[in-house]
Chain length 216, copies 2
Amino acid sequence: MVDAIEITTKNKVHILEKLLGHISKKGYGLVYTQFRVESENTAFLYVELENVVDIDCLISELRGFSGVMEVVKFFPTDEIWGKRIIIIGTGIQVSQVVLGAITEADRHNIRGERISVDTLPLAGEKKLTEAVRAVGCLPRVGCLVLAGSLMGGSIVDAIDEIKNKYGVKVISLNMVGSVRDHADLVVTDPVQAGVMAVMSIAKTAKFDIDRVDEVL
Amino acid sequence: MVDAIEITTKNKVHILEKLLGHISKKGYGLVYTQFRVESENTAFLYVELENVVDIDCLISELRGFSGVMEVVKFFPTDEIWGKRIIIIGTGIQVSQVVLGAITEADRHNIRGERISVDTLPLAGEKKLTEAVRAVGCLPRVGCLVLAGSLMGGSIVDAIDEIKNKYGVKVISLNMVGSVRDHADLVVTDPVQAGVMAVMSIAKTAKFDIDRVDEVL
């Protein structure tokens, strides 16, 4: 079981290490942490922990730290946003892939799955390469869909990187360029691509992307 | 200027505090941090820093820590994913709002903006309340669009919370229930709602959501 809390602090130097140090001294396993500075006087620290014996006790201890303004319980990100499909590419094509992905995710989420669909409309080899690489830094990503008419060059190195280093599956629309050769699956219809992306990660679906070896 | 790095570590207890401690001892300002455990032997620490004098020196120092497997430079999340629109609700309505949002974001991203559009198809008062509250924990969110036919009850408390605590703007479709009364803007057409959500946060657009006091 995972517990999640958010701590609002006065953005003080070293407060992050102090709070995390206190948590790990208690022997609780850190699963996920996010710290962001909101303004000059406010920062948010979100923490997910495993094996917590007494979360209310921990919350009350953290409230005692100098600089801490508020500590509240949250549901873990995995239970809220779940697994993620990322769709990147040209606006019109992204919007068609997302139509398939959201409609399919809706059907699975109704049955107890939790899948969210995130998108970035973007063009240009350099920008796309940076964005594909950055997918690796995102938590809980199951599948990336590349939606466009022409993609290749350095984008394929980024595809290989996120496949090998982070285990992200990649679906490409049937387009011009070398991206097709590096994707796990090539799909011609964008709505179908979105549906299959969701099917590939839903535990409520029976679809193994690695068993498909044809262009659809 | 913000520098971003990702550190791959052998998921050791206390490694996070040690690495963050080293970084803050150098006087570099932590803007954003994300730590996630990938498997029993691997965790990723992504860090964004301000005022870094010599990033290559820092990277080489971090590589010297026991348990660190790899340190690589990344582009900051703000430059890749930019500001975020979040759309939550019923699949068919989310997919129409997202059509407007992606198409409009595409137009702004071409002109140098960076806006991504993230979605979660979901139904039910309790689940929606949890998801709306959790929007507050997400970084870089500008606007939340609630897309459905009936929303009220505890969802409005979550709306008030993310508006007041995190400064997120909320757009609601014109639907049954009290959510309409707590949103910053009510829009009847879902495509229009998506377009206006993007316009409200794009620096390349001239639209002040607070100046609209009618249902569209």
